[in-house]
C-alpha cells in the first residue's frame, strides 16, 4: 500500500465559498444556518432553518462560465469547489486529463433539486425539459467529466449521508490497486424540497438551529455544499503543498434499521475500529474526532456510546453540523476538509450551540476554538441503510 497525501482542497458551504473563508468562519464560531430559503418556493421557507450556500444559480453559472443547458445546482456547486481544489493542487490540465486520474464523487440529490421539472418529466406532463439527463446522481460526475475531459476511472457512490466518505475511500483504493495514480474525490449536494420534506416526514428536522450532542437537541438542519480533495502518491508530491496524509478508512454496516442506528452502535463502532486498524493506530493516538453529530436524538447518543465503547474516554470531539447544517452527500468531504484544517493549523473548532451533556453518556464536545497538538483526526459519517464510514487523516 502506497502512502496517500492530500495536495489540494476546495469547498463551498453555508459559511464560505473557499477553504480560506471556511477556515476563518470555523475559527470565529460562525453559524451559517438561517431562517431563509430563496432557492425555491416551499411552505417551510422561514419556518425551518437551513445552511444555504450564498451563491445563486445565476451567480454560479456566471462565475463558472457554464453555458451548457440542463446543469443542476448540485453540479454547479460541485464544479465550483472542484475548481478551487484543482487550482490549489496545481495539477496540470494534462494530469487532469491523463488516463490515470480518477474522479470519484458522491451525491444523494442529483437533479432532484428540480422539483417541478422532475414532477412534470417523470409524469410525462411535458415534451421534456432541459434536465432529462440530469436527474440521476451520476449526472453530476458525467457533467464534471465532460467539463474537465477526464479519462480515468469515474464513479458515483451513494451510501446516503456517508456517501462522500466512501468516495474518498474508493479513490484511495484505486490508487493502492494501480487503477489510478491520483484521484479527485469528494461530494456535492444542493438543498432540495424533496429532502426537506423527506427528513421532515421522519420528524428529524429541528425547527431551531441544531445543537449537536446537547441534551436538549431537537433534530438536524439541512444544508448544502460541496468539497473535493486531490489525492496524490508519495512519489508525486515533491515540491507541492501537502496538507495531510490519508492513513485510515473503513466502511461497515449497522444492520439494524433503515433510518436509525442500533442502541449499541455496532456500525459506528466497527467503522471507527476498522479505520484505526488500517492506519495501524491505537485509539489513544487519535487527538480529535470530527463526529457525524447531526443533532438528532438517535445519532448523537449512539455515536457517543460507540466512541465510549471504542476509546473508553473519547478524545476531543466536535460536530460542525452547527456551522453548516447536514450537507448529506457532501458531508463526508466537507468534514474531511475541516479535519485537515485542524491538522494543518494545529487547532480544533467549537461544536456550536452546545449547552448540556447528554446524561446517559456524560460527554462534552469541544466548546471553544482551541489551539492544540493534533496528529491524527478521525472523521465519521453515518447514513440511512446502516452505512457507516470513518476516515483518519494524519499530520505530515
Amino acid at each position: 500500500m502506497s502512502r496517500i497525501f492530500i495536495t489540494g482542497m476546495g469547498i463551498v458551504s453555508a459559511v464560505g465559498n473557499s477553504v480560506a473563508a471556511n477556515h476563518e468562519a470555523l475559527k470565529a464560531n460562525t453559524c451559517g444556518i438561517q431562517y431563509k430559503l430563496d432557492l425555491f418556493p416551499s411552505k417551510y421557507a422561514g419556518l425551518l432553518p437551513f445552511g444555504l450556500v450564498a451563491l445563486s444559480n445565476e451567480e454560479l453559472l456566471k462565475a463558472l462560465k457554464v453555458t451548457e443547458s440542463g446543469v443542476t445546482r448540485t453540479s454547479l456547486l460541485g464544479l465550483y469547489a472542484l475548481n478551487e481544489a484543482l487550482a490549489d493542487s496545481k495539477i496540470s490540465t494534462e494530469e487532469i486529463q491523463s488516463f490515470d486520474t480518477a474522479l470519484i464523487g458522491a451525491n444523494t440529490v442529483g437533479g432532484m433539486c428540480l422539483t417541478d421539472e422532475l414532477y412534470n418529466d417523470a409524469n410525462a406532463k411535458t415534451d421534456g425539459s432541459d434536465y432529462l439527463g440530469s436527474y440521476d446522481c451520476a449526472s453530476v460526475n458525467l457533467f464534471l467529466q465532460r467539463h474537465l475531459k477526464i479519462n480515468g476511472v469515474i464513479n458515483t457512490i451513494n451510501t446516503a449521508c456517508s456517501s462522500s466518505a466512501n468516495a474518498i475511500m474508493y479513490g484511495a483504493m484505486l490508487m493502492n490497486n494501480g487503477y489510478a495514480r491520483r484521484a479527485i474525490v469528494g461530494g456535492t449536494d444542493s438543498l432540495a424540497k424533496f429532502t426537506i420534506n423527506g427528513f421532515n416526514s421522519l420528524h428529524i428536522l429541528s425547527n431551531e438551529i441544531c445543537t449537536p450532542f446537547d441534551e436538549g437537541r431537537k433534530g438536524l438542519n439541512l444544508g448544502e455544499g460541496a468539497a473535493w480533495l486531490i489525492l496524490e502518491k508519495e512519489e508525486d508530491i515533491k515540491g507541492k503543498n501537502v496538507y495531510a496524509e490519508l492513513t485510515g478508512y473503513s466502511n461497515a454496516n449497522d444492520a439494524y434499521h433503515p433510518s436509525s442506528l442500533s442502541d449499541e452502535g455496532d456500525g459506528p463502532f466497527l467503522s471507527m475500529q476498522g479505520a484505526l486498524k488500517l492506519a495501524k493506530l491505537t485509539p489513544d493516538k487519535i487527538d480529535f474526532i470530527n463526529a457525524h453529530g447531526t443533532g438528532t436524538e438517535n445519532n448523537d447518543e449512539v455515536e457517543s456510546r460507540a466512541m465510549i465503547r471504542l476509546f473508553g474516554k473519547p478524545p476531543a470531539f466536535a460536530s460542525t453540523k452547527g456551522n453548516v447544517g447536514h450537507t448529506l452527500g457532501a458531508a463526508g468531504a466537507i468534514e474531511a476538509v475541516y479535519s485537515i484544517l485542524s491538522l494543518q493549523h494545529q487547532e480544533v473548532y467549537a461544536n456550536l450551540h452546545f449547552k448540556n451533556t447528554i446524561p446517559s453518556t456524560g460527554l462534552t464536545p469541544v466548546e471553544w476554538y482551541t489551539k492544540m497538538p493534533v496528529n491524527h483526526v478521525m472523521s465519521n459519517s453515518f447514513g440511512f441503510g446502516g452505512n457507516c464510514s470513518s476516515l483518519i487523516f494524519s499530520k505530515v
Binding site: 411552505k43 417551510y44 444523494t108 432532484m112 422539483t115 422532475l118 414532477y119 418529466d121 417523470a122 409524469n123 410525462a124 411535458t126 415534451d127 421534456g128 432529462l132 439527463g133 436527474y135 440521476d136 446522481c137 451520476a138 460526475n141 458525467l142 479519462n151 476511472v153 469515474i154 464513479n155 458515483t156 457512490i157 451513494n158 451510501t159 446516503a160 474508493y170 483504493m173 484505486l174 493502492n176 490497486n177 487503477y179 424540497k193 424533496f194 420534506n197 423527506g198 427528513f199 416526514s201 421522519l202 466502511n251 461497515a252 454496516n253 449497522d254 444492520a255 439494524y256 434499521h257 433503515p258 433510518s259 455496532d266 456500525g267 447514513g383 440511512f384 441503510g385 446502516g386 452505512n387
Partner: protein, 345 residues
C-alpha cells in the same frame, strides 16, 4: 477474482432458451422481468418493497441467506427512483403536507444493499455504486480491490435496475427507447435509434479461490468518451496488458442493443476482437438498461460452464471447439464504455 455462484432475475424464464420462438417478447415495448415467488423474503417486508428492491433482495438472498459473505457491493443506476417520484408526487399533490416517510426511506440509492445488510445481519463492507452505465462495473472493480486487501474474504456483487414508470417516462422523452414496436427477434435488424428497455437483478459470489470456481474475472477497464478511436485504443491496450503472448479472445460478448447510434462502437470492437472470435449478443433476451452488463457477465459464466450457447445468440461462428477467454464490451448511451475479461477457471 473468481465467481462461484450466480443468480439472476430477467425478462426470460430461461435465459438459455435455444428456441428463439420460445423467448418472451416485449409487452408495450418493455421486456419486463419474470419475477420469482421470493420465498426467502418475509411477506411483511416483501409487501412494502418497490420492484428494484424486491428483485435485488430476491436475487441475492438465495446466495447469501445461508452462506455468509464479508460484504455487499452493488451497482444500481436507479434503485429507489420509483419511490423517489412516488414521494415527490405525494409532496406536490399534498402541497408539502403531512407525508408518510415510507417512500422517502426507500428512495435512497443505497436501499437494496442496506436492506440486504439488515435482513442477513451483515455488518461488513456495504456500498452502492450508482454511476449509471458503469455502476455494475465499478461494483465489480470494488470487489476485486476488496479481495486484494482481504484475500480470504467472499463478497456478494450484483447489479439491479427496474423499469419504473417514472424513469420510463423520462427516458422516453429523452429518446432512449425505440419509438416503433419491434419484436426482439428482429432487434438487431432494426437500424433505428433507441433500444428496447429491460430490467433485472444479477448477483454473484466472488472470492480469491480458484477451487470449484465457475469463472475468473481477469480484468476490467472503463472509459467515458464519444470518440471511436479512443475506445479502440483503450481496448487494444487493455488486451495487450491482459492477454499473454499468443493468447486470443475466444468469444466476444457484445452489448449490442439494436440502437443504430451505438452500433459503430460495437462494430469497431468486433474488428479488434480477432477473426476467429465468436460474436455473441444477448440484449434481445434481456433488453437494455444501465446495469444490463451484469446479465452479460452472468451469460459469460454460463457459457464457460456449459461450453454451449443458444444459436440465436450467435452473430458470428468461430472454428474453435471450446472457449476460455471471453471479452464483454458494453456501451451505455454512446459515452460509458466497459471492457471485462473473463476466463475459464
Amino acid at each position: 477474482m473468481y465467481i462461484h455462484q450466480t443468480y439472476c432475475i430477467s425478462a426470460q424464464q430461461d435465459l438459455l432458451q435455444d428456441d428463439i420462438e420460445q423467448i418472451n417478447e416485449p409487452i408495450d415495448k418493455k421486456l419486463l422481468a419474470i419475477e420469482p415467488s421470493y420465498e426467502k423474503i418475509p411477506p411483511g417486508i416483501l409487501r412494502r418493497m418497490g420492484k428494484s428492491i424486491r428483485m435485488g433482495v430476491g436475487a441475492a438472498l438465495p446466495l447469501i441467506s445461508e452462506t455468509k459473505v464479508d460484504g455487499i457491493i452493488l451497482g444500481s443506476a436507479n434503485a429507489g427512483m420509483d419511490d423517489c417520484v412516488k414521494f415527490l408526487n405525494q409532496m406536490v399533490q399534498y402541497e408539502e403536507g403531512q407525508l408518510t416517510p415510507g417512500s422517502f426511506v426507500q428512495s435512497t440509492g443505497n436501499v437494496i444493499a442496506g436492506q440486504l445488510g439488515l435482513i442477513t445481519k451483515n455488518k461488513g463492507y456495504n456500498i452502492t455504486h450508482i454511476h449509471l452505465g458503469l455502476a455494475f462495473e465499478n461494483a465489480l472493480l470494488d470487489a476485486m480491490m476488496q479481495l486484494n486487501a482481504n484475500a480470504s474474504n467472499s463478497y456478494l456483487v450484483g447489479g439491479v435496475d427496474e423499469i419504473s414508470p417514472f424513469h420510463y417516462n423520462i427516458e422516453t422523452l429523452a429518446g432512449s427507447y425505440k419509438s416503433e414496436d419491434i419484436s426482439n427477434k428482429k432487434l438487431y435488424e432494426s437500424d433505428s435509434p433507441g433500444c428496447v428497455v429491460g430490467e433485472g437483478a444479477t448477483m454473484f459470489i466472488v472470492n480469491n479461490s480458484a477451487d470449484g470456481a465457475i469463472a475468473k474475472v481477469k480484468a476490467i477497464s472503463s472509459l467515458h468518451s464519444s470518440d471511436l478511436d479512443l475506445v479502440q485504443q483503450q481496448l487494444k491496450s487493455f488486451l495487450q496488458k491482459n492477454l499473454a503472448e499468443g493468447e486470443t479472445i475466444d468469444l466476444f460478448l457484445s452489448g449490442e442493443n439494436g440502437d443504430n447510434r451505438t452500433l459503430p462502437f460495437y462494430q469497431a470492437v468486433e474488428s479488434i476482437a480477432g477473426e476467429d472470435t465468436a460474436i455473441v449478443r444477448y440484449k434481445h433476451m434481456t433488453g437494455d438498461f444501465a446495469t444490463a452488463s451484469a446479465l452479460g457477465l452472468w451469460y459469460a459464466c454460463q457459457f464457460l460452464k456449459n461450453q454451449s450457447l443458444p444459436g440465436h445468440m450467435l452473430k458470428r461462428q468461430s472454428s474453435k471447439a471450446a472457449f476460455s477467454n471471453i471479452l464483454i464490451y458494453n456501451n451505455f448511451k454512446g459515452v460509458q464504455h466497459s471492457f471485462v475479461l473473463v476466463s475459464a477457471n
